[in-house]
């Protein structure tokens, strides 16, 4: 068995396409990092725009001003500061808005808190920064209650595709109660960039792995070696198991190595301080009690689950199709087409199903913004954890199905 496994591993690794994989993935990481750096911006002490690597330095310095616990007093102080700046007519434009230069030098360091205030105090889903003009210091002290009210309002809103049920509302509110307060703020640009570019990175990593495994079975038919393999002394079962294990090992190794490189590359440029900041510092209305570091690694595990599902789906297709071309075409179509599916305006069920497609699941961090629950009334599971469990189960089911098909194959 070990010999067959070694042979199967060797067969995958020696292919040209496997050797090209690191080039494509490392190239992707470089492109993503360049995109992240070219869109990084901040302001210096005089309110002037700074871009790229320089912006990271300023963002780190800026974060020091607000790092630590986001106490209601801190929120109230920022509201007071905002109103002091806005009440000076010299700071205003002819339209009575704060001049960009003044905003960037006086208020931009507190932008993260200002954004939280805009989200917590205005109409749900439509943050309006001008609301801060109407707030007082005492309003700021009520920050956490206002934020909780936004969560409740979001749950009670009318949605054309169907509203949250009472059970769902209760479960979500219970999770919301468990979110630790006060939230923790810190330098999060590194984590923000990692999260923002994780989706394209995972999509391309999965795509490359899919290409590598798409012909594991079909190639045997195309080259005619299936005739020998299917009647070999080792039996189909051993060969099938060896192929499955080798694919699992190779793809897991690929995932671990390249995700490691992705994280380390971004860490080297941005630094990953602020891993203890609350997820609410990025998504104020999130009901997950996670730090940014925990949220990112949870997202990586979900992406890995979706990645493995895609790999085993591709293997099943490879068993069914007898040509490499058809196999890769079908696998690519099943992998990519769901990304073009739009959410329905009338069916909640459809929307929930759409989110279970692996390419949607690869965008795992998005799940922390939503309140989706899967299951029945007495056992409702939150979307990230449901996807994390579902994908490996589906992968196992597919493997069993593939094994059945493989053991019944006959060679024409």
């Amino acid at each position: 068995m070990l010999d067959i496994l070694k042979f199967e591993l060797y067969k995958i690794v020696k292919r040209k396409r496997f050797l090209f994989s690191p080039i494509i993935i490392l190239g992707t990481i470089i492109i993503l990092l360049s995109a992240a750096l070219s869109s990084a911006y901040s302001y210096d002490g005089n309110g002037n725009h700074v871009f790229g690597y320089k912006a990271i330095k300023y963002e780190k310095a800026r974060a020091e001003k607000i790092s630590g616990e986001l106490t209601p007093e801190k929120v109230a102080d920022v509201i007071e500061l905002y109103n002091i700046v806005a009440s000076d007519t010299d700071n205003l434009t002819e339209y009575d808005t704060i001049k960009d230069s003044v905003y960037n030098s006086e208020l931009y360091p507190y932008q993260k808190i200002i954004r939280c205030v805009a989200v917590a105090y205005t109409q749900t889903g439509q943050p309006d920064y001008r609301i801060i003009n109407t707030l007082t210091y005492d309003d700021g002290l009520d920050f956490y209650n206002r934020r909780d009210k936004q969560v409740i309002d979001t749950l009670n809103m009318d949605y054309s595709y169907g509203n949250y049920s009472d059970e769902e509302k209760n479960v979500i509110l219970k999770f919301n109660e468990n979110v630790s307060e006060p939230y923790v703020l810190g330098y999060t640009l590194g984590w923000e960039s990692l999260i923002e570019y994780a989706f394209p990175f995972f999509v391309i990593l999965t795509f490359v792995a899919l290409i590598n495994v798409s012909s594991v079975f079909s190639n045997e038919f195309q080259r005619g070696t299936a005739q020998v393999i299917l009647s070999s002394k080792h039996g189909r079962s051993k060969i099938f198991t060896a192929k499955i294990i080798s694919v699992f090992l190779i793809s897991t190794l690929m995932f671990a190595v390249f995700v490691g490189i992705y994280v380390l590359t971004f860490a080297a440029v941005y630094g990953l301080g602020g891993s203890g900041a609350s997820i609410q510092s990025l998504i104020l209305l999130s009901v997950y009690d996670l730090t940014l570091g925990e949220a990112f690694f949870t997202a990586v595990i979900i992406a890995y689950a979706a990645f493995i599902f895609v790999i085993f789906l591709t293997l099943t297709i490879s068993v069914v199709c007898k040509s490499n071309f058809t196999s890769v075409l079908l696998a690519l179509a099943l992998y990519f087409i769901p990304i073009f599916l739009n959410y329905s305006k009338s069916s909640k069920l459809f929307n929930y199903i759409v989110d279970l497609f692996p390419i949607k699941a690869l965008n795992a961090f998005e799940m922390f913004k939503q309140y989706k629950l899967y299951g029945f009334s007495d056992t409702l599971v939150r979307q990230p954890y449901f996807v994390m469990a579902l994908m490996p189960i589906l992968a196992v089911i597919l493997t069993v199905a593939a094994k059945n098909i493989y053991s019944r194959l006959s060679y024409d």
Binding site: S39, S215, K345
Partner: protein, 408 residues
Amino acid sequence: MNLFFDLAGYEFKKILCRKRTVITLTLVVLIGALSVFGTIIGNYYYTDENGNEITVSRYDEEMIDRRYGEELSGRVIDADLIMEAVEAYRQVPLNGDRHYADTEEYRNNARKYSQIYHIARRTFNLNGVEDFQNLTREQAEQFDKIRRENREYVIENSKISENMRAYWQKCLDGSPKTLTYEESGGYYRFVTIMYTTAMMAGAAIAIIISGIFSEEYTNGADSLILSSKHGKGLVIGAKLFAAFVISAVLIILLTAINYVEAMMIWGTGGADAQLVLMGNIFPYKITIGQSALLYSICALAACLLFAAITAMLSAMLKAPFNTIVIMAILLIVPMFINVPDEAPIWVLTLNNLLPTNMMAFWGAMYEYQYEIFGLIIPPYVFIPVFAAAASCACVYFAYRAFKKHQIS
């Protein structure tokens, strides 16, 4: 010449009779034909004053908007029209439990002016309906002035060459001082849907053509072709001719279907309207109708470039598998990589030359032009020229690769 067409005919038959081609073409034409209708299928929901959920068909809603748009067509967007819209919007209550667009006041009075509201919102940089309700006649009278000032601000503050700045200023100076509203829903839908259609056509072309040369290698027919009495050149020419004709016919057919359907549903109006009505884009001195035509040419050129790249890879690589993988990368990967607006202009304009980005209306009408030896070339001119040149290069490499192929 007859021999060439005989060979081309044979190649057509070979490509079109494949099961894969038939399935792909059927699916693409079917989806292409249905995609326009897809946007009017389904319902909209809103809540009435009694809290009841009202269901209205999306088609009816679209037709109401079209009728309102046609009623405003031909009117100059000036202080009178803006204030007429403001008055209608002032009747809309904003403090109730319902979204403003659900209220009877909006649906019966203000909705007619929704396009004017959107144009004014962009121009005056308004935050929402409340700001629009507070707009004064004095501000409305500044509409054309502010429109120009906004553009001048962009011209002054963009990091572009002096040459390009002069071009932008020339375009601005040459654009009409006033803006006349024209209902152009048909053209808007056409250019929007065409992006997906062109992408689909690109994918179909890759599937159909990926085996044009490489399947000869895998089937072993290359040894016969390369030593045939017709000579390699004629066979290669016939193959490429068939590939390009099939690709061109496919994209032209899909464009025609989308155009006819969009015009049937949303009307043919707006062909002579100013391009700026399509959104806050660069004031090229072309009409909406002309822009749709130029964009269709760009999409056609992009699809032909896609065909040329596929043919080249098919000749260079030994299996259609490898070709389809690379074409999938070319088609899909750019969708996931957003080049930020802050990136240097050469990166932004280069990004627009990726075949998939050439297929987008915003790519053809992009506000950054191509500057070559001091000459400013608009993207809707540069893209087809570039695609043609790149296609010729690909054809040359395909020809060379197949001709020099050695049978092992």
